[in-house]
């Protein structure tokens, strides 16, 4: 066991993937000498050389487009998009190419490409540095979308993502980069990359969250417990596909569901979860599924971001509203 921050755990996972598979490459803006603006690729260029860990020109479409070509040549590129808000210039290459090439070629071409995206708010950043664009990609057939929430899990997940033969969008909750946790560097992940995980068991209500909102939800559950409410918290982990089985089993037990994410509620991941659970658990739900998330506004200036972001109080308020329905 080693105590690592989330950022260092991902760094360790990348190191392990680079070490175990010569076809793995890291590419992106400032991932080389600088080690990335969050130091997630720190020292990797020094260790694996400029051919395997390299800086690219400042062009996201170019990064993804050339990574697709590298993948077609047999490599397994891991691309870093410096911040959530800068993935959009690559949208066409991701949605019309990366997601569709395997289908287009009737399976002849696989594109084992991982796109790392530091995402979400809460770090007091300027515009375009605090967004949660995951729903755009989860709505795109052909892509897989996952998000880690803690160091230990991230260490295994990044390796699983790189090992996947499908393109994977790997969303990293940047505001949790500095959160430490014990990580077993030798462990082989027991949980599949696309499985959700119950992080806090409970019986009265289920909270589904992912990425940065898992810690928030767990804290809310703790506070609820102190007030006598038993909340089960599920870390979704995979946003596409979604492990609905785990959610259904929990709702079958609790009868109540609250979904939490930073992204705008309107057409956010919560919409799909609420729609599907409301359909499948129609007779089990004791109260309407409640969604807690960002508002239908651009991400606000950081001085007011705390009012935009779901926090413990808003999760507790949703829990109260759900339990109020008898």
């Amino acid at each position: 066991m080693t105590t690592l921050s989330l950022a260092k755990a991902i760094n360790a996972g990348l190191r392990r993937s680079l070490g175990s598979d010569d076809r793995v490459m890291l590419m992106g803006e400032d991932v080389g000498a600088l080690g990335g603006v969050f130091r997630v690729t720190d020292q990797l260029q020094a260790e694996f050389g400029r051919e395997r860990v390299f800086d690219t020109p400042l062009a996201e479409s170019g990064i993804i487009g050339t990574a697709i070509g590298l993948a077609m040549r047999g490599y397994r590129p891991v691309c870093e998009i410096q911040f959530d808000g800068f993935i959009y210039p690559a949208f066409d290459q991701i949605v019309s190419q990366l997601a569709k090439i395997h289908k287009r070629t009737d399976g002849a071409v696989t594109v084992p490409l991982t796109i790392r995206v530091p995402y979400g708010g809460g770090i007091g950043a300027v515009e375009h540095h605090s967004e949660s664009p995951e729903a755009y990609f989860a709505h795109t057939a052909g892509l897989r979308v996952v998000s880690c929430s803690s160091a230990d899990d991230a260490y295994g997940m990044i390796q699983q993502a790189i090992a996947s033969d499908d393109p994977v969008l790997f969303f990293e909750p940047k505001r949790r980069y500095w959160d430490k946790e014990d990580v077993d560097l030798e462990a082989i992940p027991t949980l599949g990359l696309y499985d959700a995980r119950v992080v806090t068991e409970g019986t009265d209500l289920t909270v589904v969250a992912y990425g940065p909102m898992v810690a928030t939800s767990v804290a809310a559950a703790r506070e609820a417990a102190s007030e006598g409410t038993s909340v089960e918290v599920i870390d979704l982990r995979s946003l596409s596909p979604i492990d609905f089985g785990t959610i259904e089993r929990s709702v079958a037990k609790t009868g109540r569901l609250v979904i939490v994410h930073e992204a705008p509620v309107f057409l956010g991941l919560g919409a799909e979860i609420a729609a599907r659970i409301s359909e499948r658990c129609f007779w089990m739900l004791e109260s309407p599924v409640i969604r807690v998330g960002g508002y239908s506004t651009p991400y606000p200036p950081s001085k007011v971001e705390q009012y935009y972001l779901p926090d413990i109080d808003r999760v507790l308020d949703a829990i109260d509203r759900s339990l109020a329905v008898q």
Partner: protein, 371 residues
């Protein structure tokens, strides 16, 4: 322009080797050397290629008219640009094409029937890219060049002397992805040949809408060597492409080729060029027909014998017939194929949807029965 500004100078005239008027090859200080091995036999071969691909193209247009294809993008007029460049490639080189490179596909060894399946709507591809080292049609204009550059970056890391070549049109040069591809290719010295078929149009937009200067000049701004070639001169195109390929194999990085040609037909079978271009212009280019151009040289050399011409026609006829037969004989994909090859690994949601789909269609069929 002021002397403080950058000026484009130097010889920008399109390279040509086949005479326009008559007589034998026009010598070129640099490029003649690249086709010194091309003798009578090879010229006849190229002529046959041109005749064959034109016939396949015509047959496809006919099949579309008869409702056998949903759409077709004719290459009429661009045969030399495609045949000349494709003949400069090695088997292991990889082609990243757009949607109009039927002749290139043919020369890579793609069964022409398979080319048509895409346009029929029976598949998104038509062939396995790795079997012929050529991608299937890239419909999003400008999307394929970056793939070629990335592939080339991989070639370089493999210390291989393969090259990547990407085909695209004049319109595609306006897309940001094209410029990013030039930038990455230069930055990583990727062994890539950028082959632009400037057929003067992007659907209805004349090339003048895309650029106010010759497209070939674009490359220099990225530190990439550019060569403009007469796209209707199959021999010159072969020479120039061999030159670019050699540079790539020698580690000299990317080269940009602008093949100046003309789209004699409509953009696709659903286009109506009379709305945006006049007959005179088309007529002028008809006189520069790439097949006639080569034929004149063959005649000059006494190679255009009735037998040779008949043989070429015969080969073309056979291909046309097999293409037609293959097209009519297409076995359409099964409904469930919708769910195949979306992911390389199992996907829970997709499997659910597939199961529902299968049972639903079972249900519907019986329903339909007792209606």
């Amino acid at each position: 322009m002021s002397i403080a500004s950058i000026e484009i100078t130097g010889h920008t005239e399109a390279v040509a080797l086949l005479p326009t008027a008559g007589g034998d090859l026009v010598p070129h200080p640099i490029f003649s050397a690249y086709v010194s091995d091309i003798g009578d036999a090879e010229l006849v071969e190229m002529y046959t290629d041109l005749v064959v691909v034109r016939r396949i193209d015509a047959e496809a247009t006919a099949l579309q008219r008869q409702g056998e294809l949903g759409l077709w993008a004719p290459m009429l007029g661009q045969e030399a640009a495609q045949v000349g460049s494709a003949r400069a490639l090695r088997e292991k080189d990889f082609v990243f094409a757009s949607y109009r490179e039927h002749a290139v596909a043919y020369l890579r060894g793609v069964d022409p029937t398979m080319i048509l399946r895409f346009w029929r709507g029976s598949t998104h591809s038509g062939w396995n890219p790795y079997e012929v080292n050529m991608t299937t049609p890239a419909i999003v204009v400008g999307s394929q060049m970056l793939h070629a550059v990335g592939y080339g970056m991989g070639i370089r890391r493999d210390r291989s002397d393969d090259i990547a070549i990407t085909y695209f049109g004049d319109g595609a040069t306006s897309q940001g992805d094209f410029s990013e591809a030039l930038g990455f290719a230069a930055s990583f010295a990727a062994p890539v040949v950028f082959f632009c078929q400037n057929n003067q149009f992007a659907i209805s937009a004349h090339v003048g809408v895309q650029t106010t200067v010759p497209i070939v000049q674009r490359a220099a701004g990225f530190g990439i060597e550019g060569v403009q070639v007469d796209g209707n001169d199959v021999l010159a195109v072969l020479a120039v492409t061999r030159y670019a390929a050699e540079r790539a194999r020698n580690g000299e990085g990317p080269t940009f080729i602008e093949a100046v040609t003309y789209r004699m037909g409509p953009h696709t079978t659903s286009d109506d060029p009379t709305r945006y271009r006049d007959a005179e212009e088309v007529a002028r280019w008809k006189e520069r027909d790439p097949i006639d151009r080569l034929l004149r040289t063959l005649e000059h050399r006494g190679l255009a014998t009735p037998q040779m011409l008949a043989a070429a026609e015969a080969t073309a006829g056979e291909f046309a017939a097999s293409v037609r037969a293959g097209c009519l004989g297409t076995v359409e994909p099964a409904p469930e194929s919708i769910f195949e090859n979306v992911y390389a690994e199992p996907h829970s949601l997709l499997e659910e949807e597939r199961a529902e789909f299968v049972s639903y269609h079972g249900i519907r069929d019986t329903k339909a029965a007792d209606r």
